[in-house]
């Protein structure tokens, strides 16, 4: 068993360390314990109350497990379901992995730093749980694994740590939904994620957030992609939450490694988002693309992107597009950093309103003004993700569609 003594010491020193970005949160205002919930069988999972099932569906989690290769479900601090239905794909609660598997030491806090800020420190000091999803060498997942992090108790701070490993030549698809129960309005979610994409492996990771108005969200993630690997990261957040700040980082450490980060964020009134993506291109032939689509209908959104080209023969592009439809603020901060000759890096940033000409064009085909606006917004949000299985694309489209009525 891994006693993590040194990590705990480092964490203790960082418990009050403010994060460089996002409003500082007093974590003392949240409770860190909850009642524990019983493990549910496949059958029992299907009997969850309908209102919960609907909340989960909004976050891309389907309790019938139809079209899913496995499920991890954590409610508050308890893992209530954890199972893989596919050979070669493992799903393990992280606390169990820390107890039973020595190999976890090669991954746990190896990309993210435990003392980065008070949130990473809290996740180590009081780790509730989280998942380890691992595709063994050469394993190809047909259906995505779904993972759900659910906050049931009002006022809870949920601390999770996730590790995803795509071993050499494997292919893994994960969809993670984060949601609160219909009754829980306030809470904090601290989520550490570490992604390992090994040689020629492919990982698609789609995260859908479906929080409540008074939630504080602080994900911390770092990915590492080896030679020939592909990392597709999609993020969708269309529901309000008080403050969300994250700046996931990807390191392309092997030749020809590729990362594509897409995010879709809708900022509702009273919400504040500071979201970005950062990619280090460290080997020749690596490529990165960051595409962000943000809509503000009264919220504040800071949309960041940072590409760092350290060697020649890399190619990277950043696209931040924002649409303000009902007031609010969008602050796009695209950054490019080329360190040597021979890098090819570009960015495109635009913040605007819906063009009247487009609305009129659609109205002249018979749509009402509201329908025209909705159609244009839907188009704006529909980002093609090359390499994403159609089923996951459909999940994203569904999440967008189900949230759309709140946007208009």
């Amino acid at each position: 068993m891994y006693d993590r003594e040194q990590l705990k010491e480092q964490a203790a020193k960082a418990l009050d360390k403010k994060a460089p970005l996002g409003p500082d949160i007093d974590l003392m205002g949240f409770r860190t314990t909850s009642e524990s919930y019983e493990y549910l069988s496949d059958e029992e999972l299907k009997t969850l109350p309908d209102e919960e099932v609907q909340r989960l569906l909004l976050a891309g989690v389907d309790v019938t497990e139809e079209g899913r290769g496995g499920t991890f479900f954590q409610k508050d601090t308890s893992v209530i379901h954890c199972e893989s239905k596919q050979e070669g794909i493992e799903v393990i609660p992280i606390r169990q992995a820390l107890e039973k598997h020595d190999w976890i030491r090669d991954y746990y806090w190896k990309l993210a730093s435990v003392d980065a800020d008070k949130y990473t420190a809290a996740a180590e000091t009081n780790l509730h749980n989280g998942y380890v999803i691992r595709a063994l060498p050469g394993a190809k997942s047909i259906y995505p694994i779904q993972a759900c992090l659910y906050i049931n108790t009002n006022g809870l701070q949920q601390n999770v740590h996730n590790i995803i490993i795509a071993e050499e030549d494997s292919e893994l698809h994960v969809i993670t939904g984060c949601s609160t129960s219909p009754h829980s309005k306030k809470g904090a979610h601290v989520g550490i994620s570490e992604f390992y994409i090994k040689k020629n492996a492919k990982l698609s990771f789609t995260m859908i957030h479906n929080w409540a108005e008074d939630m504080v969200v602080r994900p911390r993630s770092v990915a590492q992609v080896e030679a020939g690997g592909l990392f597709l990261n999609n993020y969708v957040c269309m529901k309000p939450c008080r403050t969300l700040q994250m700046y996931p980082t990807t390191h392309l450490v092997g030749e020809n490694a590729v990362a594509r980060l897409n995010s879709i964020i809708v900022g509702s009134p009273g919400s504040e988002y500071d979201v970005g993506g950062r990619v280090y291109l460290k080997k020749p032939g690596t490529r990165a693309e960051i595409v962000a689509r943000t809509i503000s209908n009264g919220g504040r959104i800071i949309s960041r992107g940072h590409l760092i080209g350290e060697v020649p023969e890399i190619k990277a592009h950043l696209e931040c597009k924002g649409l303000i439809i009902k007031g609010g603020l969008i602050y796009a901060v695209p950054e490019l950093e080329g360190h040597v000759d021979g890098v090819e890096m570009s960015h495109e940033a635009a913040v605007g309103k819906i063009a009247q000409e487009e609305i009129c064009y659609l109205m002249s085909r018979g749509l009402t003004e509201d329908e025209a606006v909705a159609t244009i917004v839907r188009g704006f949000l529909s980002v093609d993700v090359p390499g994403l299985p159609p089923q996951l694309k459909a999940e994203i489209d569904k999440a967008i569609e189900m949230s759309e009525k709140d946007v208009m």
């Binding site: 487009e358 009129c360 064009y361 002249s364 085909r365 018979g366 749509l367 003004e369 704006f380």
Partner: protein
């Protein structure tokens, strides 16, 4: 029927159309000539209902309804459709979806697209990177799906290559119910009489006249319109003596 009476229109604070009279009866198609910048597109946009074209006088009546100040979508639903000269791109909206939107119900998108040789473009965003000729075909496809009663065509043949010009011409003729071959139950004359679709086609080249039987020609010059019953005659006159002379003689003859 479309009836425009003494219409005056302002754009960005400038009067661009004045004393416009126009009457298109059911089954009729008119062509509209006029030099660049004379206000042809503006007239069509005003009929469609673009709010930046401010009507400062006169009225527009369609099917007996005064639509002078009606919103665009109301006019569309009443049966007015337009093939644009320069439509905007709508990112993320596939042409296929646009054709469905136009139909307002289920429609055989592929089948319609085949008629204008446009199947390969259905999964592209509306107008995104379409060439000049492709835009025309896309616009016609949308009109076919929309099924309007009054169709306004803004330079449908400009930028279209020699092979596609026949396709475009024939498609417009079909949209305007111009093919008047006798059917089992109706004589040619009856088919012609039963025709209800109305058209207004802007053209510089007059090529469209080779494909579509046109009832009247209109000439817009200096914001004023003059009308003739013989479109070919107007076209010949413009080619020979220019727009200005031609306006003078049509006015004198009317």
């Amino acid at each position: 029927m479309l009836l425009i009476e003494d219409l005056q229109v302002e754009l960005a604070g400038r009067t661009i159309l004045k004393h416009i009279d126009l009457e298109i009866k059911p089954g009729e198609t008119h062509v509209l000539f006029g030099p660049n910048g004379s206000g042809k597109t503006s007239l069509l946009m005003t009929i469609v209902g673009y709010p930046q074209y401010k009507v400062t006088g006169g009225k527009i009546v369609f099917k007996g309804v005064d639509i002078t100040y009606a919103p665009i979508d109301e006019r569309a639903r009443l049966g007015i459709g337009m093939s644009y000269q320069r439509p905007p791109t709508i990112h993320g909206l596939k042409t296929r979806q646009m054709v469905q939107i136009c139909a307002r119900s289920d429609v055989d998108v592929e089948g319609l697209a085949r008629k204008v040789n446009f199947e390969n473009f259905l999964d592209r965003d509306v107008n995104a990177g379409f060439s000049g000729g492709e835009i025309k075909r896309s616009e016609l496809l949308q009109l076919m799906s929309q099924g309007a009663d009054l169709m306004l065509f803004d330079e449908p043949e400009s930028g279209v290559d020699i092979e596609n010009i026949a396709l475009v011409g024939e498609t417009i003729a079909r949209l305007l119910e111009k093919e008047c071959s006798a059917t089992a139950t109706k004589s040619r004359l009856q088919v012609r009489r039963d025709r209800t679709k109305m058209g207004l086609i802007i053209t510089h080249t007059g090529h469209i006249l080779d494909y579509v039987a046109v009832d009247k020609g209109q000439l817009l010059f200096n914001g004023v319109m003059s009308c003739s019953t013989n479109p070919r005659e107007i076209f010949r006159c413009i080619s020979e003596v220019g727009y200005e002379e031609c306006v003078r003689c049509t006015i004198e003859n009317s």
